[in-house]
């Protein structure tokens, strides 16, 4: 594949974009009230009009849910990619700076107070995540006493905060007799079923984050070579790292506040694309975005249709498929 990077980006994006659209249409069609693939395509293209019941199912329930899954999957994969590069740690995932712990405590408190999913739980979880993030970054900033946020202090601070929050979460769950426990558990495993059409506009807040991260893709390549080398090649390391941290954390916090803690997408999708496409972030950013979106739509589809009654939390599917897929790719790459 010895073609210019621009051409590579366009081709990969076109391919993954097509996959995303196909999977979306399948996800909108499938379910207990099944609609034929071509029919759905016709409805979405405005070529034909569905009857009332079908229209409600498609526009009120399935389409918003597919859109949510796409944004969540894309953002989580992108978040994992950025943190893996910034912290230069292959185990980094989008929640690593304490986002998961903070947002979970916020969400659980809101649920125990009997607040509605939207806006109550969403706002509490977003606030919780921001508070923990502010704490971890300030900690990393002051312990270094230096101008650059040290990646080790960030990493350790985040892991410790997540561990601390996990204890608080267990405490809250064990103390409560409320019927909310089931909801809390579903939230902790990630749940896309709570999506309402009214929440969709919030998702568009993450679009500018995508753009900023794409623009910073080349500096991210240089950061992989070490901060001093990056600086020697003209990167304003402090500003770029700070901007990436803030943008990515905001993006993930918004997403988590809407979907709960969906695991594994943010860890495995960046690794899969790195194995397939190499380490260049200009290529990885759009690929993770589109690939992560397709992957979560697919997982959510399976979570909906596999059980004979009810649904599985989507977080179970993401790990059940993702882990074996990753191992296969790893083995293939070694051969």
């Amino acid at each position: 594949m010895n073609m210019p990077i621009g051409k590579k980006i366009v081709l990969t994006s076109l391919l993954l974009g097509t996959v995303l659209i196909l999977i979306s249409i399948i996800a909108i069609s499938a379910g207990s009230a099944g609609v034929h693939f071509w029919e759905t395509l016709g409805f979405l293209a405005g070529k034909s009009t569905p009857d009332n019941a079908t229209a409600t199912i498609i526009y009120q329930i399935r389409l918003p849910r597919v859109i949510l899954a796409a944004f969540v999957g894309g953002s989580l994969a992108l978040g994992g990619l950025v943190f893996q590069a910034l912290l230069r740690n292959p185990l980094a995932e989008p929640y690593i700076l304490g986002i998961s712990g903070g947002s979970a405590i916020g969400a659980i408190l809101a649920m125990l107070m009997g607040l509605s999913y939207f806006p109550g739980v969403t706002i509490f979880s977003f606030t919780g995540s921001l508070l923990v993030l502010a704490f971890v970054t300030t900690l990393a900033g002051t312990t270094m006493g230096n101008t650059m946020l040290s990646r080790d202090s960030l990493l350790l601070g985040g892991v410790m905060m997540n561990a601390f929050c996990a204890a608080v979460i267990m405490f809250l769950i064990s103390m409560t007799r409320s019927f909310q426990v089931q909801h809390i558990l579903y939230w902790l495993m990630g749940d896309l079923a709570t999506m309402q059409k009214e929440q969709l506009p919030i998702l568009f807040l993450v679009l500018p984050c995508f753009l900023v991260i794409f623009i910073l893709a080349r500096p991210m390549n240089l950061l992989l070579l070490g901060r001093e080398t990056a600086a020697a090649m003209g990167i304003n390391v402090k500003n770029i790292v700070l901007l990436l941290l803030i943008i990515t954390s905001l993006m993930v916090s918004i997403i988590v506040s809407l979907s709960g803690l969906i695991g594994f997408v943010g860890l495995v999708i960046p690794h899969i694309f790195r194995l397939l496409l190499g380490p260049d972030h200009r290529l990885l950013v759009p690929s993770c975005l589109l690939g992560g979106a397709s992957y979560l739509i697919l997982c959510d589809l399976l979570a909906r249709v596999l059980p004979s009654s009810g649904e599985l939390p989507v977080g179970i599917i993401t790990a059940l498929i993702g882990a074996p897929l990753f191992i296969v790719l790893l083995l293939r790459n070694r051969a």
């Binding site: 230069r88 080349r218 390549n221 992989l224 070490g226 001093e228 600086a231 090649m233 003209g234």
Partner: protein, 266 residues
């Protein structure tokens, strides 16, 4: 003789410990300038201060008649390239991808390289004789190959000054000469200023136009190799006995550290 770099009274402290104190010297455009000195003398720190990666607490650094603080990082990187002591090879970038990264300070906001950038990278790889390795991953390379790749990246940056931090330390004699010859050839062809930190006093003697001897953060002596590679100065700075004589190759002095068991023959 135009000064490209003028350093005045630089002092650097880290946690109340003095790393550099009152360092003053200047480098002339197109010069091969070698910084020598014992371990912990502050050579690497000096290189970092010169390249703006570290800020000195006192003193001034003037690059091309402009104070270093007036440069943006990007503009500084268009003038200066750095070949560090150690490099990160953990992520599987290929040689070609690594070399073309040297174009970074010259690229636009989206950072897409054009035909011209790839052409410059190819020329740089040809110059350091790593073209045949273009599609290899960095971690598959030997020490000498890796060093030539990093030098190609620095050349690709099209700088006016190249700073090298002990580029030959881990290499065998033939690869050491290869690296030094490459730098010398590049300097003659392009007029680029070379500033190198080295532990190898004989390479410094044979290649350097001028040397700077650093000890405990202070400049002991600056000047042509013959004046800096003086037996008393070296013995005092390095803390071991030295023999300094005319190299049999001529035109250069030769430095031989003397082990204890040979002292009686000296």
């Amino acid at each position: 003789m135009i000064q490209i770099l003028d350093i005045k009274n630089i002092s650097l402290n880290f946690r109340h410990k003095s790393i550099l104190s009152d360092v003053t010297f200047s480098v002339i455009t197109g010069e091969f300038f070698v910084i020598i000195g014992p371990n912990g003398a502050g050579k690497t720190s000096l290189l970092k201060v010169l390249s703006g990666l570290q800020k000195a607490q006192h003193g001034s650094i003037t690059i091309k008649d402009k104070n270093i603080s007036k440069y943006k990082r990007r503009n500084l990187s268009q003038i200066m390239a750095i070949v560090p002591q150690q490099i990160e090879v953990g992520f599987p970038f290929t040689v070609a991808e690594t070399v073309v990264m040297g174009r970074s300070p010259h690229l636009g906001i989206l950072g897409m390289e054009g035909k011209n950038d790839f052409h410059i990278a190819e020329e740089a790889m040809k110059f350091t004789e790593v073209s045949h390795l273009a599609e290899r991953k960095l971690f598959q390379l030997s020490g000498g190959e890796l060093q030539r790749v990093i030098i190609a990246r620095a050349i690709c940056q099209q700088p006016e000054i190249i700073l090298l931090d002990e580029p030959t330390t881990a290499l065998d004699p033939s690869h050491q000469l290869k690296i030094m010859d490459l730098m010398e050839k590049f300097r003659q062809e392009q007029g680029t200023t070379i500033i190198m930190v080295s532990h190898d006093l004989n390479l410094a003697s044979m290649y350097g136009d001028r040397l700077l001897l650093l000890k405990e953060g202070r400049v002991v002596e600056t000047g042509v190799p013959k004046s800096v590679l003086n037996r008393e100065l070296l013995e005092e700075s390095y803390g071991c006995r030295m023999m300094v004589d005319e190299s049999p190759l001529g035109q250069a002095v030769r430095v031989t550290p003397i082990p204890d068991k040979y002292l009686h023959t000296y």
